[in-house]
Every structure is written in C-alpha cells, then in structure tokens.
Subunit: 252 residues, 2 copies
C-alpha cells in the first residue's frame, strides 16, 4: 500500500508549519519551526534539506525559507484536510477544541481525498437539510450528555416542518433570490448559481470544482470589500472584489 500523499507525514507537518509561520510573520526561521513542532533545531535543518531536495521549498544553509508553488499547494492541502477534520470533530461530534485539533493533526495525513469530500458534503448536508441542522446536532449533544436519552424530538420536528412550509409559502411568491458573491457578508452561506470569472482565479475555481451547486461561505471581507475570503469545499480562498462579482449565489 503506497502512501496516499506525495510526502511523509512528518514532512507534511513541516510544510504546514512553514506555511503558517510565513503567513503570520512574513519570514520563517528554523527556530520557530522547531518550537512549533517540538523538535530539535538539527531535525529542522534535516527536514529543510529534504524538502528543498524535493522542491517543496527554496532553501540553502543560513538562507531564508520560502515555499515553492508546489510546496504552497501541498501545505494548503494539508491545512484543508486538517480544518475539515477538526471542524467535523468540533461541530458535529462536539469534541473539545484541543483534542479535535490534535487528532485532526494525526488523521490529516491518512484521510483519503474521497473521504475528505464526503466529510465536506456531509457537513454541508447537515447544514442544509431541514431535517438536521443545528437543532439536530444539539440533540446529539443532549444524547451524549444524558446517557442515551433522546430530547423531545417531536416538537423539534414539528417546528422544522413549520419553518419549511413557511419558507415555501414565501418562496412561492418571490422568484429565486440570487446575489453576487461580493454582496454577501461574513458568515453568510450560499449555493453557487453561476461562475463567470476569468484569468488565473477562474481556472483555479474550475480546478477546485466550484460549479453550480457548490456551497460557499463568506469568511472575511476586508474594508472596501476587497479582498473577500471565502470557504469552498474546505478550501480557504481569497478573491478580488471584481472576481467575486462574477460569481452568482443563491443565499441559504
């Protein structure tokens, strides 16, 4: 059984750490990496040499460390896997943050791309399907904390059904509401209706499979609405305002 990803678990953690350090303080130094990963300085030197050889980073002794494009992609991918898993543990299994983070950091290296996608879809479905959603998860919390007792499910279902009908009544009057991605606010979620973005970003979106039907969440909007940070399929993505304007969304 060949390993699922291009580098070893250890190297993935180094890449992840380098990416995070660079994005936080512009430049990554071996000392920081050693501290974060709780390894000795010589271990870091060794890892750097190995990563440079495989062309994940630019590096020579005493030089500063930068990620190659390949390295950045790999790092982002590990981080995505980590985030999806941690999110699932925290938001669905209601596990405490520290443990969710720790276990995600071990699982991130072994989860398959396919199962990743399923986790993402599952969480989306959970958020969208009116049978489930937040209320249902809190019911799971009750179940866990009370030795397998179910909390009053009937009321909850009635309410759900009520809301669903309400929404439908309204929906019958107005046409499907769509907005441009740049018109949404942090925390808003929606489903992609159309993508009309050219250039590198457009290509990246297609590559990532961001097409009609994909769920998008607004994470952060900078002053003057540029750039806009979004989450799609577990990826964190930063869009220019004009790029975001090319994406049509049906808010959820």
């Amino acid at each position: 059984m060949t390993s699922t990803y291009a580098v070893s678990e250890s190297m993935e953690d180094y890449l992840k750490t380098i990416f995070k350090v660079i994005n936080k303080q512009h430049v990554a130094r071996p000392k920081d990496i050693a501290k974060i990963l709780k390894v000795s300085a010589p271990s870091v030197t060794g890892a750097l040499r190995s990563l440079a050889e495989k062309e994940f980073i630019h590096y020579s002794p005493y030089d500063l460390i930068t990620l190659t494009q390949k390295g950045e992609n790999a790092a982002k991918d590990v981080i995505r896997r980590h985030d999806v898993l941690q999110n699932f543990f925290e938001k669905v299994l209601l596990v405490e943050q520290k443990e969710a983070d720790e276990v995600a950091c071990r699982m991130e290296h072994v989860v398959s791309p396919n199962i990743m996608d399923r986790f993402i879809s599952f969480i989306e479905f959970l958020e969208i399907c009116p049978r489930a959603g937040e209320k249902w998860i809190s019911g799971f919390g009750y179940y866990c904390d009370h030795d397998g007792k179910l909390d009053n499910c009937e009321k909850c279902i009635e309410l759900t059904l009520e809301n669903l009908r309400e929404k439908k009544r309204k929906g019958g009057n107005e046409a499907m509401v769509v907005k441009k991605l740049n018109e949404l606010e942090p925390g808003n979620k929606g489903r992609v209706v159309k993508v009309a973005v050219s250039g590198e970003t457009g290509r990246r979106l297609v590559e990532m499979g961001v097409t009609a039907g994909t769920m998008v969440e607004i994470e952060k909007v900078a002053p003057f609405g540029d750039p806009i940070d979004i989450k799609v399929k577990g990826y964190h993505l930063s869009l220019r305002k004009e790029e975001a304007a090319g994406i049509t969304i049906e808010p959820v």
Copy 2:
C-alpha cells in the same frame, strides 16, 4: 506528544492480524502474517520478537504464536477502533467498502478514545433519532450524487412525524415493552434497561460501561441460543445464554 496507544502503529497491525488469523485457523504462522500485511518474512520475525519482549504474545523461534491476555485485549481494541471507523465511513459517509477499510486501517492508530466514543454515539443517535435515521442518510446519498441538490425533504419529514405520532399512540396504550436479551433475534437492537450479570462477564460489562441506556445489537445467536454474539459500544461480545438472560432490554 506521546503516542495515544501502548504500541506503535505497525505493532498494532501485527497484533490485529495475529488475532484474526488465530480466530480463523486456530494457529498463526509467520507466513500468513507476512502475506496479510504484505511484508517480508524477516520483518515478521522481528515484529514477533518485539511483541514477545513487550509481553503481547508468547513466542520463541519456530514455536507457535499465541496472544497473551494483554495482547488479546490490545488486538480487540484495535479491531474495535477499525470497525467503528469503517462502519462510519460505509454507513454514514456512504464510502465504498474497500476504501473505508483502508482508511480505517490507517486511522485506527490515531483516533482518540474520546472521539471513538463520539463516533459510536453519533451512529447510535443517527439510528434512533426520528429526525435522522436511514431515510436521512439516503437523502445524503442523493445530495452527494446530484451535485448538492436536496431530495424532497418535506415529504420525508411529514412521514417521520406521522410515524412518530403513530408510535406514540400505540405507546400510550401499552406499557414500555421490555425483553430479556436472550429473547431477541439477530439484527434486533435495543436499549439496556437493567444489567444483572454476575462473575467475570458482569465485571467486564461494567468496565465497558454497559449500563442502563446503552444501545445493544444482536449479531448472531448460536443454535439453542448459546452463545449470543452482541455489539455494544463498538465492542463485539459473546455471552452465554444465562448471562444474556440477566440483561433487560427495551427493543428499538
């Protein structure tokens, strides 16, 4: 970060394999182990020496291999972790069996006891809470296969609510139905109402946290109803008929 479990990932896989081989053909030989784990024969010899030293197995060169109690416990624990994960991937995330098995075999070594418990509770909750269950999971399947389209949720919720009320009407007339565990049939599930089992098995049940509220599933019943194989909290357990008779169940 110290590793979560007592032995390395590799050794856990050896233990698991030894357990399975013994339970299948009574005696484990290095050749079988090598074949299953896809390693060379000398690798097996090395692993056996190492496991013997740590007292997980009884072994000396050319001798036959048996698990110590410690080894058997460890093996069962790995298998439980594996099964719970694989089950979640297959039954909840609707992942195909081969991949579910492979990824479970990697994750089994890094999932924490706590998150294990959550997975188990989550699956139970999914099976019990009338908002979710099988119908809901099949809705998730539809969602995955149709690019994020929701299948007619309203009808499904109405039906669920209907069933729930139906059940309640019936439930109002008759008192809570309870049975003895030995009266159930393979595939039946239920919630433990009372445990009155003495001896080693009783102690084991308590250790495993099998108390009022725990979900139990009947897996297999031998001819004449003895022994009875059950699944509790992810563990597979074999009970004598008289032991099973000491456990009161409310069928679900």
